[in-house]
């Protein structure tokens, strides 16, 4: 039946992209808040996240400690804000590496094809088959001592094959479109085509995937924390906090709830933004 309706879509129809919506901007705001908190944590009027106030152990949320304290008297709110640094640093850092390497390679390979593409893609697929999570766990457990930078590097490199594949596929879909071929025939240089035709069209997919990638990496950091492979305590990280809280859960439920909430909210926002961007820019998606 869609064919029948196609007859009518030839005519002028107002171009209507899927609206981004209020929720989108709220999520973007929350994300911005998180980033702001992470970057400027040192300048904010927060109690020292590592300072244990022994007179206020396991305090409930209140005036002095916005979200309460943990079993060592440390302020939870402050720890969460500082912890966001780890999550966001890992998320952003890993994605920068992954995209920084994987995206240009993917685009180039998709555009150039030929031997360059064949070899590189074969290599990437081999790497892809190796489960990234295992590799990350393995390398991090062997490559001691722990360091935030190491975590970022390992996760970042592990994500390169995935990014490569996604970007390459997306670019191929566009590079084979007629208007790109037309540009080539008209004599546009490769550089021009890459920047003017391919990049703007791959960007939306790339950005949306990037956000979802950040979300995935944040989850990964959390999981690594449980395995003891994340940053060493007492450095606060959401994963560490949740992990450490297990022993005192019954006495101090806030210790579990707040970091979990912080993580889930951030993930929710990232996923939502990524999803909305994708459906906003993808005009080929089936709409009902």
């Amino acid at each position: 039946m869609s064919e029948a309706l196609d007859e009518f879509t030839l005519m002028d129809r107002p171009e209507k992209n899927d609206p981004l919506g209020v929720l989108f901007w709220i999520c973007l705001g929350w994300l911005g808040l998180n980033i702001f908190g992470a970057v400027f944590a040192n300048l904010l009027p927060l109690p020292d996240p590592n300072f244990g106030n022994y007179s206020a152990i396991n305090a409930s949320p209140g005036l002095h400690h916005l979200l309460g304290t943990d079993d060592l008297g440390r302020d939870i709110f402050s720890r969460i804000v500082f912890g966001s640094r780890v999550s966001l640093a890992v998320g952003a850092g890993a994605m920068i590496i992954g995209f920084g390497i994987g995206a240009p390679l993917g685009m180039l390979a998709a555009y150039r094809r030929g031997r360059f593409d064949a070899i590189l893609t074969a290599l990437m697929y081999v790497l892809l088959a190796f489960p990234a999570i295992i590799a990350t766990i393995a390398v991090l457990s062997f490559w001691t001592p722990r360091a935030l930078l190491k975590i970022i590097i390992v996760i970042g490199l592990a994500s390169v094959p995935v990014v490569y594949r996604v970007i390459r596929t997306a670019t191929m879909n566009i590079a084979t479109k007629d208007y790109v071929i037309a540009a080539r025939i008209q004599g546009a240089t490769d550089r021009r085509i890459l920047f003017k035709e391919l990049l703007p069209n791959v960007a939306p997919i790339g950005v949306s995937f990037l956000l979802i990638g950040v979300a995935t990496v944040v989850i990964l950091e959390g999981a690594l924390a449980f395995l003891g492979l994340s940053v060493n305590p007492p450095t606060p990280s959401w994963g560490n906090m949740i992990n450490e809280s297990r022993t005192v859960m019954a006495q101090n439920p806030w210790l579990v709830i707040f970091p979990s909430l912080a993580m889930c909210l951030l993930l929710l926002c990232l996923n939502f933004i990524g999803d909305r961007l994708r459906s906003h820019f993808d005009v080929t998606e089936v709409k009902l």
């Binding site: 039946m1 064919e3 029948a4 007859e7 009518f8 005519m11 129809r13």
Partner: protein, 334 residues
């Protein structure tokens, strides 16, 4: 006077789109007798495909509103539930679709696709269904049916695929066959074959056929009556001969003239209809063809003409300023 197989009255189909309601089919009425072939002609966007689907009740289930009446052998299609419509689909009425590559299930063997109809609708067992399927394949002119039975649609040529679609449609011997542009996607040489096949089968199986197409050459010799559609409405209808020889509506004339004719000299300029097809979301209140019509009057732009039977000729048309009744040259397609 043979029985009326199909009675269509004031049929209107409206789609609820993101940009507002779109009336794809507006107030269409006609009758179809047994063993008759009716042609529905129009350009892309004329609503002919939507019409054929709506007649069968095959329009999408959501965001579509249908009003009017379609009586098929006494069964009222408009407003019927999907369940009750299912009881007539395949057994009373069937459809041949335009593109056999997309209308056949690409991952199911063609034999199975025919079997399915026979087993589910006629309750045949496996062996009987296979035997009948092979018969049908032969009937539609597919050589070596035994081999083809196990083939996937992708293995067959375009013409053969369409024959399979026809076989599926005929499996339960429906009384009415809707053929929606059955040859448009095929090679010209195959087109004639398929159309001849349809002619033959129609007589053999005692069916009526509704042939939907944009190609006037197709309807000229194979239909007894035609309907000309524009912007979802019927603008001219009558016996094929009448309409070809004594058409009154300028759109019909333009349509006839824009078809290339073999008889013409080489390098004869192709006639086109100026302007663009109308935007169905934004129809003017007058005749939909007025903006492109060479004979349009003030009234044409303001008031929409109704379909009126003509006194001089034997057919009906909708036009305020029709062409003169006596046209010496009819279009001929030989």
């Amino acid at each position: 006077m043979s029985e009326e197989l199909l009675i269509v009255k004031d049929l209107t189909t409206t789609f609820a789109t993101a940009s507002g309601p779109l009336t794809a089919v507006g107030d269409v009425s006609f009758n179809l007798h047994e063993n008759e072939t009716l042609g529905i002609v129009g350009e892309s966007g004329s609503g002919k495909t939507v019409l054929s689907r709506t007649i069968m009740g095959l329009q999408p289930r959501t965001n579509v509103a249908v009003s009017g009446s379609v009586q098929l052998n006494g069964f009222e299609v408009v407003g019927a539930s999907e369940d009750s419509k299912r009881s007539i689909w395949g057994t009373e009425v069937a459809m041949v679709f335009q593109d056999p590559m997309t209308s056949l299930n690409p991952v199911m063997r063609i034999g199975k696709q025919i079997d399915e109809t026979l087993r589910v609708r006629l309750g045949m067992d496996k062996a009987a269904a296979k035997a009948r399927a092979l018969e049908l394949l032969e009937l539609v002119g597919i050589p070596s049916p035994e081999q083809r039975y196990r083939a996937y649609p992708g293995h067959l040529s375009g013409g053969m695929r369409q024959r399979v679609v026809i076989a599926i449609a005929l499996a339960c011997s429906p009384k009415l066959l809707m053929a929606d542009e059955p040859t448009t996607g095929l090679d010209v040489t195959i087109q004639a074959q398929i159309l001849n096949l349809l002619d033959r089968l129609k007589t053999q199986m005692n069916m009526s056929v509704v042939l939907v197409t944009h190609d006037l050459g197709v309807v000229a010799t194979r239909t007894s009556r035609i309907i000309v559609m524009y912007a979802g409405r019927v603008v001219e209808t009558g016996s094929t001969r009448e309409v070809f020889k004594h058409h009154r509506m300028p759109y019909t004339r333009a349509l006839l003239e824009s078809s290339p004719k073999i008889a013409n000299q080489s390098h004869t300029r192709l006639q086109t209809i100026p302007g663009r097809p109308p935007n169905l979301l934004n129809l003017t209140q007058g005749c939909a063809f007025a903006p492109r019509c060479a004979y349009a009057t003030q009234r044409c732009h303001q008031e929409r003409p109704e379909l009126e039977p003509s006194s001089e000729t034997g057919h009906s048309f909708a036009c305020w300023n029709p062409l003169p009744a006596t046209t010496s040259e009819g279009a001929s397609f030989s």
